[in-house]
Symmetry: C2
Subunit: 515 residues, 2 copies
């Protein structure tokens, strides 16, 4: 739900490549790193590659079996089963220790894999998936059926296919392939998984901040998450950070207000009775500028940092390389806010906090009309945050703003929140990612900050305070939507399918080991 990864399918990088940039053919994974094993970098991966090829069927089967057990936090579905399954998958992949950690919400999983290596690398997994309605799917969402998709190749269709079981299962396949090739992974691994990402990771801190988990993470230099980062034509964008977020439900009821009628009543009584729908409309209206584009909550900009010169430079490079018209067309955009020039729009996207109404409802919403005066009105909002805002600060200021205007009875339920997260461009995580992508011949671009959000702050913020990000070859899309898919065999020469992405994770581990 609170999901920056969804954005990748819409990345600027993806756009320009889809618009026709030619690329050097990379028909199959190949040896990418020249350094010898003695240097600590990747040795010849021919045996690993052979193992990946050999294990293709079981790797796909592993992903399909996992998809068949959807763990959905919002529905309380397969909560404990999902955690146990996650732990089993990690055990099978060679993790020596796997602990299910109960929280006040859904459990997390903590696992470690000591390979006697010099470097220890932190990893983040999520085992939950988004809700789905099978009626909307072209093939059963829990089947993981493999079908041809025009322009992409063979894709696996299923809930969690790309968000996030596909990339994660692909990483596990890399560990299986290393073992099958008689190799130990070149780094030790510390992995934390959660089952509540799709509801905003409300209890993930309870997992990460456990003393034994913190102690294990202290040995790490970074934390990363497997991710299908490629556009359909193979390009990748590496984000140096992400906005934070709080998701909030505002509910106005006559009961809490103490005015009007307790239940819905015939609308003719409006002349003598207050309406909580009007109250919510008026309260909402105070939260933004008249055009709805700037937050107008008291003190909201107190800790908002402007973009750095380097961040502006990255955006300027993007503008120079990627035509505005392509992105507008891809996204179906008619205009940027306030008719801004493209560069200004991109700077806003990276730098500005937002208040968005993601949903609202009250009263009668069916066909035609129904003359009712509702007793309740609801709005679902998301507030994107930028450094140095925090989720806690945002919630506190929102509540204070409403209370100051007499709207203290409107209930404010924060259903999820992330602080912003930022990682240094110079970190081994970012530099290793860039190196592996570039050695694969990909068109790589940087983004100063993802406008979306992910729980990276749990790692970049105290007490962990490590660089955190995503890495991975491969492609998928329709996260949260029907027919979510993950590319198993890619058509475009620069795009890697599941086997190529598997090898990519091996390459990445060796790159990190060499850092």
């Amino acid at each position: 739900m609170i999901d920056g990864r969804i954005l990748r399918g819409l990345s600027r990088r993806g756009l320009v490549l889809m618009a026709g940039a030619a690329g050097v053919a990379l028909a199959s994974p190949r040896r990418l790193l020249a350094a010898s094993p003695a240097s600590g970098a990747a040795p010849d991966l021919a045996e690993v590659k052979a193992a990946v090829e050999r294990q293709r069927p079981e790797a796909i089967k592993r992903l399909q079996d996992w998809i068949a057990l959807p763990s959905i936090a919002a529905e309380g579905r397969n909560v404990q089963e999902g955690a146990r399954y996650m732990a089993e998958l990690l055990k099978d992949a060679g993790f020596q220790n796997q602990t299910i950690i109960q929280t006040d919400g859904r459990p997390g999983v903590f696992a470690t894999m000591d390979n006697g290596a010099a470097r220890t690398v932190g990893m983040y997994f999520m085992y939950d998936v988004k809700q789905f309605d099978p009626a909307e799917w072209s093939s059963p969402p829990l089947e993981g059926r493999i079908v041809e998709k025009t322009g992409l190749g063979k894709v696996l269709i299923g809930r969690g296919a790309v968000n996030q079981k596909g990339p994660e299962a692909t990483f596990l396949a890399a560990l299986h392939a290393l073992r099958a090739a008689g190799r130990k992974p070149p780094v030790n691994l510390v992995l934390v998984a959660e089952g509540e990402e799709e509801i905003g990771s409300p209890h993930f801190g309870q997992v990460v901040h456990r003393p034994e988990v913190l102690a294990a993470l202290k040995k790490c230099h970074e934390v990363w998450m497997p991710f299908a980062a490629q556009s359909p034509t193979g390009g990748v964008e590496v984000d140096l950070g992400a906005k934070g977020l709080i998701e909030v439900e505002l509910v106005c009821t006559t009961k809490a207000w103490g005015r009007g009628a307790l239940d819905d009543i015939h609308s003719s009584f409006k002349a003598e009775l207050d309406s909580p729908v009007w109250r919510l409309v008026k309260a909402l209206s105070t939260l933004t500028s008249e055009d709805g584009n700037d937050p107008a909550i008291d003190g909201w900009f107190e800790h908002v940092k402007p973009l750095t010169a380097r961040q502006k430079q990255i955006i300027a490079e993007d503008v120079a390389k990627n035509p505005e018209a392509d992105r507008k067309k891809f996204m179906g955009v008619q205009t940027w806010v306030r008719d801004l020039p493209y560069r200004d729009a991109l700077e806003r996207l990276a730098s500005q906090p937002t208040v968005n109404i993601e949903g609202m409802f009250a009263g009668y919403t069916g066909p035609g009309g129904k003359t009712v005066l509702p007793s309740k009105a609801t709005a679902k909002l998301d507030f994107r945050l930028v450094p140095d805002q925090t989720a806690a600060e945002a919630e506190r200021k929102l509540r204070a703003h409403l209370a100051k205007r007499g709207y203290g009875d409107i209930s404010v339920t924060v259903t999820g929140g992330y602080d912003p997260t930022q990682t240094e461009e110079s970190s081994a995580l970012i530099q290793s990612s860039l190196a592996v992508y570039r050695q694969a011949g990909l068109d790589v671009s940087l983004s100063p900050r993802l406008a979306g959000s992910w729980p990276g702050y749990i790692f970049t913020g105290p007490p962990v305070s490590l660089p955190a990000g995503h890495f991975g070859f491969g492609h998928g899309s329709r996260q949260h939507a029907p027919d979510e898919y993950y590319v198993i065999e890619a058509e475009h020469p620069k795009l890697r399918g599941m086997a190529g992405a598997t090898l990519g994770y091996v390459e990445f581990l060796y790159a990190l080991a060499a850092s």
Copy 2:
């Protein structure tokens, strides 16, 4: 849908009686009118009463069969079938002519019954019913099952039971009983029926304004509608008018606006893209005062007439007789707007136009959140109108108000509209109603104006320009809701069941004949 009758179950009169006023027992219908047949008033009704008793089973069966054929304008269900069935029912009841009149919407029915009487009386029927969801009902909504209801007696449960098939079938039973007793009705009848009342009678004018219908109505002194006017304890309130209404759907889309993204898009893009949800919220906010209680649309009060001294007197009498606390309790009301004293609240109810949000929706409305920037937002509003506002004026002023503020792209769809309607207290219709109710020993009160709405303006306004209103004994409730019911056999001695109400219609026809 646009339905003042729904209010009757909540009438002030009903309230005080429910709160315990004792009444003279009226265990069974009896001879009510002393005047001799020679005077033109009611003769001895013993034979008619016997026929009513004899015909009870077939009268109930007639209602049940009618309920089994729901004509629902909003769903396009049984449109022609409903009109044909209506015509058949009228034919069976003795109307000599029945014509189905096609319109641009659903057909109406025009019927006449010449009894060689001195006076011709106009009548209004509706044959359509409100939508329903069988899953919400305790017995099948199309079965018309008769069950015991605590405190009321035997009630018939079904869609249309009280709104409006029950009272209408009871009136038809009165015509059947008269014939069985060898009597001709003491008045001639001109009847117009529609199949779109529940969607706001959008094409009923096309029926009423047909030359042959107008010519027939010109012979009438009034138009009335059968109605179960009694509270559970037998009291009745006679309304001298009703507010008008327009129901409007406002839809704001990025497409019509020409801004933002054409489709729903990930909410992280809010920083660079306009939101139609914010736009609708801001536009709505301009329509009322800050507390949502006064319309703030340009020129809205131009033709609003204050209450007359007589209207205020009627309200003052009501306040004196009926405790505020009872009505608050019955309606579940915590406070009146602006903490007004009761009398002021009732004067507002009768005199003030309103803007109500009956429903609104946008984006994601399921459990939890979904980080979407919607491309569309919808609000359903109803605007209650008072004399001398008109529905056409209200629509025009609403459009002008929005356009003036730059919201001309927000689509305004008027799904139904009624002008206000008002009938003279001195008219034969009102005086006959009061006389029959009082002769039955009922506690009768007046209301200057129903806050709800009904299409009476089609008769009270030009070119028909006749008094129009409702009349009828009996009780029912839960109009538009599950388990809609109509009392067949009443427990309370002052409340008439279906047979008593049947005789009441006979009494009323004789009273009109004598006017």
